[in-house]
């Protein structure tokens, strides 16, 4: 069954929370507020929504995608394990994402097919411009500029009054992602390394002084110590940490750190699951894309289970985003850069969960491919930022001013 967003608002209560946050005064709590957590997962490269959530009831999809299309759930000519999983009469789910399917069935995951970061027709087609647009959340990409802060860093600003200890990227890479850039303290997690002696530490603090480098170092030293304590005893395969296929390990670490009671436990974590820019090698939809989707599903499953094991899932909002999707029409050997993607929201927050088996949301009726252009996408299914904005506002109980500062509402048209 397809429900539109208005129905979704009514049925799930997600936007009851969002609406309350956006229109009503902030609720005061007499007791301590339970820490809320956010995990933002980037999938750079252009994750193909038509492979993850194929529109199984649209002949145009099967025509445009031809050999790369995911067969319908009832297509007896295809092997059973290659047929789409049933989500609704309109959309299916790729069969290689069993963990995600389980979340959908339990109401933990809500999918938003064909949503865009850029205004429709204004996608530059550039990975990096659109990543900047998505990560700064200001509908600008300003190529080459170093002045744009990431929206997660802005979120830290508004959470500052709640003893927020910051955000950490657990990406398998030591570089800081754009979404964390800004004035608030953020960090990159790296596995335990050498032990620095007290004397060396003292000398380093002496030489670096109290300015930029000294502050970065001293906080980094203390934070790493705390994180190592949090991970001590956990069964983590650090050898896979920086591996292309190690996203599930990064997810496990992120979950443990967020749920830890250490002083430096972050409120927000960033994961980065790359490998979605498949112009070729699609092997009729069962090569590279299927393998990466299976890996994404494994990572998400690991993350959710890690949080559940630590009783933290109900306090956590997980947002998965790519910079754009792929066009429905293929180029003969694969797909190029497109527009819409499938938005993925996962949460255990009871206010934000979907009804079991109903977390697939369209803005109005399924528009199909009636208006085809160079992007070959389903048009006008809304901007992903406006959806994430609602969830973030509701999850963190932000005021209108706060969420406007973090993720401003964007024009649909």
């Amino acid at each position: 069954m397809i429900i539109n967003r208005r129905e979704f608002i009514k049925s799930t209560g997600a936007c009851m929370g969002a609406a309350a946050a956006l229109s009503a005064p902030k609720v005061s709590f007499a007791g301590p507020v339970m820490a809320k957590k956010l995990i933002y997962i980037t999938c750079p490269g252009g994750l193909d929504g038509f492979t993850l959530t194929p529109p199984i009831n649209d002949p145009a999809y099967y025509s445009l995608r031809s050999q790369f299309a995911v067969p319908r759930p009832d297509d007896n000519s295809a092997p059973v394990d290659r047929r789409a999983l049933y989500l609704s009469d309109t959309f299916g789910l790729h069969p290689r994402v069993p963990e995600m399917y389980g979340m959908f069935q339990r109401g933990e995951m809500t999918l938003f097919p064909n949503v865009n970061w850029a205004r429709y027709g204004y996608n530059t087609g550039s990975h990096f411009n659109e990543i900047r647009r998505a990560e700064n959340g200001m509908d600008r990409w300003d190529n080459g500029s170093t002045s744009l802060a990431g929206w997660v860093n802005r979120l830290l600003t508004v959470l500052e009054g709640e003893n927020n200890p910051g955000a950490i990227a657990v990406t398998g890479n030591p570089v800081l992602p754009d979404v964390l850039h800004g004035p608030e303290v953020t960090a990159v997690y790296m596995p335990p390394g050498q032990t620095t002696s007290q004397q060396t530490d003292m000398r380093l603090r002496q030489v670096m002084g109290g300015r930029t480098l000294g502050r970065v170092y001293s906080t980094g030293f203390d934070r790493r110590d705390a994180m190592n304590r949090a991970l001590n005893g956990a069964n983590v395969n650090f050898n896979m940490f920086s591996n292309f296929w190690g996203a599930h390990v990064q997810a496990q670490i992120a979950g443990i750190l967020l749920a830890s009671d250490q002083q430096y436990a972050p409120s927000i974590s960033i994961l980065n699951i790359e490998g979605w820019d498949w112009h070729t090698y699609e092997n009729n939809g069962w090569g590279y894309p299927a393998a990466r989707l299976a890996h994404l599903s494994l990572a998400l499953g690991t993350l959710v289970q890690t949080l559940k094991d630590r009783n933290m899932f109900q306090n956590t909002l997980i947002v998965v985003a790519s910079e754009f999707g792929r066009p429905c029409a293929h180029n003969g050997v694969g797909t190029d850069h497109g527009h819409g993607q499938t938005g993925i929201i996962i949460t255990g927050n009871p206010l934000l969960m979907a009804q079991p088996g109903q977390g697939i949301v369209l803005n109005g009726n399924y528009p199909g491919f009636a208006s085809r252009d160079q992007w070959n996408c389903i048009r006008d299914n809304g901007r992903y930022q406006n959806i994430i904005r609602q969830y973030v506002a509701a999850h963190f109980n932000l005021t209108q001013a706060e969420i406007d500062f973090v993720l401003p509402s964007l024009n649909q048209a």
């Binding site: 902030k26 170093t146 990159v188 000398r203 480098l213 180029n331 850069h337 001013a401």
Partner: protein
């Protein structure tokens, strides 16, 4: 009461929000601004080295000089004092622009001390003042300065030391063996064999990658032309492509990066930028990674056509549109690699592992490139002209003023500083771009424009070295690679550990890149809490080898003493001198982790 408190908090938070919103655009300038607050106390301490201490016991003694300089330069500076009295405090802080500071410092140096007291001061220690420029140049354009480099710069001067490196006479540059064809033929031979790229065959390819890499690392460690190597790394990074990503096949392509470096980047360093671009488009591993070889008349792939414009030439803000991308994708069809192992030409003139053109798979229809103003009528009867037509368009892109501006910007970003608002950035960028346009992308002419426009080598915005350069700098400055044949095997094993192990943790192994933008060099990506601890780990692992080779005092002196003790800086790194003898390991670690190295300034 709780509600009132909460509302009060909210008000405070909102005020803070508004403030943050205003401050945010300035965030990237924060470091520049901070650097303009020079501790008077420290400045006095620096200035008074070698001068009678009592002359400057009162920091206000130099205030008139500062004010005079500020007036002379039209700067509206403010003098602040924590106590409100400039005569009683030693913590007065002066906010000065970099230009004023540099003028002041020049005045201080030329006067030998206090610019306002009029007394004939003793001359400053000559080595110290010249070492400041020497070390700044070496850090910025080379690796960490070595003892030999410091001697050379003291002997011939810093500018000749830099520009001499750009001559191609007596070149020790580049791999001395041409293994490219063999490597690629071997790869396609493996692919064509039964079983394809088995683990064993991948291991052979990987071993070749390590051999090539170690050989190049030795050259980098021993070269007397570090600037040339840094420039080559820059252009490799600029045209990095997709080395180091994906599954086994892509990985096997990725480790062809050493051949790419040796045969696309290095040979064209003394040529034109467009030559380098053309060579890249014929490099088989890159053609395969970008799927160019799959691009045919009825199925063109837009990946490289888009990124050729976005990343390798004009940049995404140049004004091209999707129509230009599609036209270039159509033009870039029919380009293939002969996927075989034959070392000599077959009946069709094809050699294994090399580019060839299949006219039958080329789209010869009419094309329009609105951005470049190029119109191509249909040439279906002349499809063989496809490669020449592609070259025409790629050359136009490579010579485009937007490319010139972009390369100029990236060079300054890579070598000098992230922040385009620093004084002199725009004029330097314009000058480099102009040279690019006038010489049609002559790489050495561009390099000279970069090196000669160094804003007087005065302090500039903070720039963190990428870990690759930092570790190679330690190898060089610590004399960890020598020409002693008896040590070669041990040294090579260590170099292999750096390129495959250490650098893997610090981003990517040697010549492999995190994404098509190359190895990222933004300050924020490396100077953050997590990354800095990783850098410390690896610096700590290399430091004992240096301690076994030389005294910590010598290492400190060669690498940063001129910077740390300069009147331009307000550094606490000079403290290293005091514990270098008793704690050599800590002194070496602290030298490399100092602000002078990690931020290329104090």
């Amino acid at each position: 009461m709780a509600t009132i408190q909460k509302n009060s908090q909210k008000f405070t938070k909102k005020s803070k929000l508004a403030l943050k919103a205003e401050v945010q655009p300035l965030a990237s300038r924060a470091d520049t601004v901070k650097s303009d607050f020079v501790s008077m106390e420290t400045k006095v301490a620096m200035i008074t080295r070698g001068v009678e201490a009592k002359t400057f016991s009162d920091p206000t003694a130099i205030t008139p000089g500062i004010e005079a300089l500020a007036r002379a330069t039209g700067e509206n500076n403010t003098i602040r004092s924590s106590s409100g009295s400039t005569t009683q405090t030693t913590t007065a802080r002066v906010r000065l622009s970099a230009d004023v500071k540099s003028q002041m410092a020049r005045a201080v140096i030329s006067a030998g001390g206090n610019p306002s007291d009029g007394a004939p001061p003793p001359p400053p220690p000559p080595r110290r003042s010249s070492d400041y420029n020497n070390q700044l140049a070496a850090h910025r354009y080379g690796f960490l300065p070595t003892g030999a480099e410091m001697d050379q710069m003291r002997n011939i001067g810093v500018r000749p030391w830099m520009t001499n490196q750009l001559s191609n006479s007596g070149l020790d540059f580049g791999n001395d063996v041409v293994r490219y064809d063999e490597r690629l033929r071997l790869f396609y031979d493996f692919r064509s064999q039964y079983g394809g790229l088995t683990t064993e065959r991948l291991q052979i390819l990987y071993n070749n990658y390590k051999l090539d890499g170690v050989q190049y690392y030795r050259q980098m460690a021993l070269t007397n032309r570090p600037i040339l190597h840094r420039l080559a790394q820059f252009f490799f990074n600029h045209l990095a492509g997709k080395f180091g990503m994906g599954d086994a096949e892509q990985y096997s392509m990725g480790i062809q990066c050493t051949s790419y470096f040796a045969h696309v980047i290095l040979p064209n360093m003394f040529g034109k930028f467009e030559d380098m671009v053309m060579a890249a488009t014929r490099f088989p591993a890159l053609m395969q990674q970008y799927s160019v070889i799959d691009s045919i008349v009825n199925g063109n792939v837009q990946d490289w056509p888009r990124e050729m414009m976005e990343l390798h030439t004009v940049g995404s803000d140049a004004g091209y549109t999707q129509a230009d991308v599609v036209a270039l994708a159509r033009l870039w069809t029919g380009h293939k690699i002969h996927q075989a192992a034959n070392a000599t030409a077959d009946a069709n003139g094809r050699i294994g592992g090399r580019w060839y053109f299949n006219a039958a798979q080329h789209d010869g229809g009419a094309k329009s490139f609105p951005f470049l103003g190029i119109e191509m009528a249909a040439y279906t009867n002349d499809r063989a002209s496809g490669p020449d037509r592609l070259n025409q368009v790629l050359t136009a892109l490579a010579r485009h003023p937007a490319t010139a501006n972009r390369i100029a910007h990236k060079l300054l970003f890579h070598f000098v500083g992230d922040d385009p608002s620093w004084s002199g950035f725009q004029s330097a960028k314009d000058r480099i771009a102009r040279v690019f346009i006038e010489t049609q992308g002559d790489i050495m002419a561009i390099a000279r424009a970069l090196l000669l426009d160094i804003n007087g080598l005065h302090p500039v915005p903070f720039k963190s070295p990428r870990p690759h350069d930092l570790l190679m700098g330690m190898v060089r400055a610590g004399n960890l690679v020598t020409r002693n044949a008896n040590d070669t095997a041990t040294e090579n094993a260590f170099l292999e550990t750096i390129m495959t192990n250490y650098l893997a943790v610090l981003g990517r192994p040697h010549l492999q890149v995190p994404d098509v933008r190359g190895y990222l060099v933004d300050n924020a990506r490396w100077v953050n809490e997590g990354s800095i601890m990783q850098i410390l780990d690896h610096v700590s692992m290399i430091a004992p080898r240096i301690a076994a080779k030389m005294s910590a005092a010598t290492f400190y002196s060669n690498v940063i003493s001129g910077l740390a003790m300069s009147p331009f800086m307000s550094s606490s790194s000079s403290a290293i001198e005091q514990f270098a003898a008793t704690e050599p390991l800590n002194a070496i670690i602290c030298t490399v982790m100092s602000p002078e190295v990690l931020m290329r300034r104090a």
